[in-house]
């Protein structure tokens, strides 16, 4: 067990992109966890004498926004929200999606058919559109945006879990456990699920990046987190008006979103290379 872990880690560290991704993820995680100590100022305090101060100001390293709030502190607190929402979305959609997919793949027939139609229906709605519709029911807000985006993210997990379950249920070890009288739930969750974890983990990493993007997009459209919350999407939307006079207000939150999303994509890609060596052999 330990040696395969080490082997995998060595494989992983050879993938420079994935390693860079992991480093940035760790960096943003630290920012998020230590935000109250790292942020130089409170993210919501208004310094009324310093409106839209340019970056590299002696007391505001990355300047201030239109209400005189310290931009660096807001960006640091923003990491909390983006990372947190990304992870929550993957937890929600991953759990629901995996269970549905495993059930569909394991039982087949009518259950599978019903699960796949659900996937078809959800996939027919463009992610932001469905999320927008859900938010219009629940009302705008960060939690509602998370729920909406989680629903949208389910089909990916369903498809992966279903495909793996279909392959695994035909393996000899499943037949063996069945002859020993293992119940179906036991087969699904104790035997099949551990063997599906690899691809699901890859999807989890890619899912975090999708989730972050979608929540930021909803925030940008005014349907996600609401006003004083230091969320990168809203910060971007608020800064639009000052695109001419203070372009840094637009640039910085976007760079943060881009780097965080890119990190999770790099990490997920690297993970996939380890978990699916066949794919790697083919593509490199």
């Amino acid at each position: 067990m330990r040696s395969t872990f080490l082997q995998n880690f060595r494989l992983f560290s050879q993938n420079r992109g994935a390693l860079i991704g992991l480093l940035f993820i760790l960096f943003f995680t630290l920012l998020a966890l230590l935000a109250p100590w790292l942020a130089p100022k409170d993210p919501n305090t208004l310094y009324v004498e310093h409106l839209r101060e340019a970056p590299f100001h002696p007391s505001f390293l990355l300047g201030t926004d239109d209400l005189g709030r310290d931009y660096l502190s807001r960006l640091i607190y923003g990491a909390r929200i983006s990372l947190g929402t990304g992870i929550l979305i993957v937890l929600f959609s991953g759990t629901v999606g995996t269970i549905l997919g495993l059930l569909g793949g394991f039982y087949g027939k009518k259950i599978d058919w019903a699960v796949m139609r659900l996937v078809d229906i959800l996939m027919a709605f463009p992610s932001i559109l469905l999320a927008m519709a859900v938010v219009s029911i629940l009302g705008p807000g960060l939690l509602n945006a998370i729920i909406a985006v989680s629903i949208v993210a389910c089909p990916q997990f369903i498809k992966i879990a279903r495909a793996k379950a279909m392959i695994e249920k035909k393996q000899t070890y499943i037949m063996a456990s069945r002859t020993f009288g293992a119940s179906s739930p036991r087969l699904i969750f104790k035997e099949i699920l551990p063997n599906c974890l690899g691809p699901l983990l890859v999807q989890a990493s890619l899912g975090v990046s999708d989730g972050i993007l979608n929540v930021a997009a909803l925030g940008f459209l005014g349907l996600g987190a609401q006003a004083p919350t230091p969320e990168w999407g809203i910060m971007l939307a608020d800064a639009r008006v000052f695109i001419m006079s203070s372009p840094f207000l637009v640039t910085l939150p976007g760079i943060c979103i881009l780097i965080l999303v890119l990190s999770f994509n790099l990490f997920g890609d690297g993970l996939r290379d380890i978990i699916d060596p066949k794919l790697k052999a083919r593509s490199s």
């Binding site: 078809d120 709605f125 519709a133 219009s136 029911i137 009302g139 495909a163 979103i257 083919r282």
Partner: protein, 365 residues
């Protein structure tokens, strides 16, 4: 072919019913009374209220309302917008060309750059150019396009002054929207005789940045797909044979390999339609592009429920149909798939109890 249609319609019909149910009930769940919303604060006279409710059919049981909705939808009637009081279908089709024009321009951008990038990366596998192009495409894939659009505006419109900031056409031109595609409308004789070619270039300049913003993610997906598909094909025996026969490398790559490598791209293009609509929603909001996306965003903010319902229904149905179309195209383009299908059908004919054809099971992702 008949089999294909039969097999698909078994899945298609329930999906479409589900889509219609979802778009119908989603809107019913929106809090707030639509009748009150329509009448406004002052019109809350109980008699007027009841009359309005009856007129809209909202006093009927909800199942009845659903069937009325479907029946009317088939007659091309999806209700009226609460705000503009005009037919939703009419509004949809007056805005659709704008989104379609933008979508096609962005797809054109994505294909013209994505396919060559993918081919170059595959040919220079593991070289510097490969790493560079694939890193760039991953950056493109991770791009928050609502930010990317703003950055493009800052660079090209505000700093370099090359392109306009928003809209589809300079407002000084009053053109006749015959087709709704401004690139075509500006070339119609009536406009040409009046303004010359200037409106055409104006609409082209307006299209430039939104198309780049919207095409960036598809470009990245296409480049990555082309690369991996190209690598698969380049390893095949017939390519080695072609090399042995002394056919030039260019010819092999561009004609022998690319032709087959493009087949999977068709599927990806079809599946991309959903993300293109997502792109349209964001891009149109940034560039004030008067299309479907911007219309939906403003309707959701205004809780204009017939518009949300119709828009969601239209787009989802459109995507379902496109996916089926792509599947069909795929079987047409790739003879191997056709054989596969025939084999499946023969097998099914041989053993009628076998309900799940293996091809369906083998296509999980």
């Amino acid at each position: 072919m008949k089999n294909f249609i039969l097999k698909r319609s078994k899945d298609l019909l329930p999906t479409l019913i589900g889509v219609s149910l979802l778009s119908f009930f989603l809107v019913r769940l929106i809090p707030g009374d639509p009748v009150m919303l329509m009448l406004g604060e002052r019109g809350a006279n109980p008699e007027v209220y009841m009359e309005m409710k009856q007129k809209l059919g909202l006093d009927q049981p909800i199942i009845f309302q659903y069937f009325t909705f479907i029946a009317k939808a088939f007659q091309g009637d999806l209700g009226e917008s609460l705000i503009s009081k005009t037919s939703v279908v009419e509004e949809f089709f007056s805005r659709f060309p704008a989104t379609l024009e933008l979508g096609m321009a962005s797809l054109l951008f994505a294909l013209t750059f994505g396919i060559p990038f993918g081919v170059i990366a595959a040919v220079k596998r593991n070289g510097f150019l490969d790493y560079f192009l694939m890193t760039m495409s991953l950056v493109g894939y991770s791009m928050p396009i609502f930010w990317w659009g703003l950055i493009l505006i800052i660079t090209f419109s505000l700093n370099l002054g090359l392109t306009p900031v928003s809209g589809r056409l300079n407002i000084i031109y009053d053109i006749d929207p015959v087709t709704g595609f401004y690139l075509i409308d500006t070339l119609l004789p009536s406009t040409l005789s009046h303004y010359g070619l200037k409106p055409f270039f104006s609409s082209l300049a307006h299209l430039f940045l939104p198309a780049i913003a919207m095409g960036t993610i598809p470009l990245a997906v296409i480049a990555r797909m082309t690369r991996s598909s190209m690598i698969d094909v380049l390893d095949e025996d017939y390519i080695r044979t072609a090399k042995a026969r002394g056919i030039s490398a260019h010819r092999i790559i561009l004609i022998h390999a690319l032709k087959n490598a493009l087949i999977p791209i068709i599927t990806v293009l079809g599946l991309m339609f959903g993300s293109i609509i997502t792109g349209a929603i964001l891009t149109e909001s940034i560039f004030s592009w008067p299309g479907i996306g911007k219309w939906l965003v403003s309707s959701i903010t205004a809780r204009d429920y017939p518009v949300i319902q119709a828009g969601v229904l239209f787009i989802a149905t459109f995507i379902v149909l496109i996916n089926i179309g792509v599947d069909f195209l795929y079987t047409l383009v790739d003879p191997r798939m056709r054989k596969e299908l025939q084999k499946v059908n023969k097998k099914r004919a041989a053993s009628p109890t076998d309900k799940a054809p293996p091809q369906n099971e083998g296509d999980p992702l």
